[in-house]
Each structure stands twice: as C-alpha cells, then as structure tokens.
Symmetry: C2
Subunit: 137 residues, 2 copies
C-alpha cells in the first residue's frame, strides 16, 4: 500500500492524513506481523506518548487497525485487511507467537474453525497460539 492509497483510506474514514498516521501505518505494514504498543513506541520515536495513544485510538476506531491480542499487559496491533470497515471486522485468522524468537505471525487455519454455538451471535473470534515455530524448532 503506497502513500497515495493510504491517504485516500484515511480521508475516506474522515481522518486527516497526518505525518504521524502515515508513518505509523507504514511501519506496521513493513513490520509484517502484529506490533506491541512498546515496539510501536520505540519505532515512532521521537513522539509524544499522548499523541501515540490518540493516533492508535483514532485508527482503531475507524477500523484501519485492530487489536490482534493482548499479552503481558500489552496490546498488539495489526493493520486490518480489506474485509474490515468501520462497522464490522473480520479477523478469523490465528496469531502464533514463537516463545523462542518472539515473533508473531498470522496463521490461516486450513480447516476453517467451525464454531457452532446455537442461539449465540458471534461478533469476534480471536485465536492465540503459543509455542515454537518451524524455524526455531
């Protein structure tokens, strides 16, 4: 996603295409997997803490990024796919965290997870797996 597309996306969601937002989205895109708040903060340096909180909040509210999962009192964020919008999010992939190399990757589960709960309305499913990845094994 290049700079022009990003600006369009932000404007479409009624957000100004500020340097902070573009920079954050670029970094998240380059990073490849879900980023923790502390990692984001390091990579965005120098930035005011409050500005970062509000930047993340605005992108989250408009469905441009989402909370992938939380761990050790830290939230991990990821860019939403094209299937997400302000109203509804679709994130049925799983996040795998390797306990050796500490990277987080998205795993498409071959057989779609069949969750059948009669009379339940399911809005969001998040699957978080921890272990040792193939490279570290």
């Amino acid at each position: 996603m290049d700079s022009v597309q990003l600006k369009e996306l932000l404007r479409k969601r009624n957000l100004k295409a500020t340097h902070t937002r573009l920079s954050l989205l670029n970094k998240m895109h380059a990073y490849g997997s879900a980023m923790s708040h502390s990692v984001i903060q390091k990579q965005m340096q120098p930035i005011d803490r409050v500005t970062l909180y509000r930047t993340i909040e605005s992108l989250h509210e408009k469905g441009i990024i989402h909370k992938a999962f939380q761990e050790n009192n830290e939230t991990f964020y990821a860019i939403c796919g094209s299937s997400c919008n302000t109203q509804a999010h679709k994130h049925d992939h799983a996040h795998f965290k390797c306990l050796k190399c500490n990277t987080v990757s998205c795993q498409e589960l071959d057989e779609t997870l069949k969750i059948s709960l009669p009379n339940y309305e399911i809005n969001k499913v998040s699957i978080h797996i921890e272990g040792i990845c193939d490279l570290c094994h």
Copy 2:
C-alpha cells in the same frame, strides 16, 4: 472443592494455605467464570494491592489458576482444571464474552479444534469469542 481439599492442593504445590489464598480461590470458584483483576480486587476488599498481586502471582506460578485472556488492559483469571499442574497446562476450551450482560463463560467446542501446523510445537491455545449469548439474544 471444599476448604480441606483446597488446603491440600496448596500444600501439595508448596504454598501455605493462608486466609488470602483460600478466600481468593473460594471466590473464583463461586464466581463460575473467569474473573478480571478489578473484580477480584473489589471482592477481596479490604486487601493490600501488593498482596493481591503477589497472591495471584503465586497461584499462577504453581498452576492453580491461569490467565484465561486479557481484554481492555485487564487480565482475566480462572481456576485451572485437574488436568493442569506446575509444568503443563491444558486449556483447550474457549472463552465467550457476552457484550450485553458482560459475563464470561467457558464453551467446550464440540468438534475439537484441529490446529495443524507442521513442524510447529504448540504449547498453548487460547480462543476468545465475543458476541451476544443465548440468554440476551
């Protein structure tokens, strides 16, 4: 689980059966589903904040309770089943959080979730589902 059994469990894991620990375990058992830190704190009042942190930590370390999931920068804890011990935890059930009544319940997924990741070692799987439960529907 009555008081005698609880004391035995604590002693088996090399923890003293203190009033604080017994009280916390009783409350978690009575509560039925995963409890957030803030709810625990309210129910344990009056208690020193530090003591609560350390009580939870000790029970968690010894595999008596586990972190069910985290949400809104809060950790939810639940009592481990009999299949858990100091070394290994088995928690393959899913947690369902109703967005209307805010209760969290454990859902046994009828078809066991088949997660096949070749050459990966899977230590822990946590599934968190949000939506509207049958009663609120």
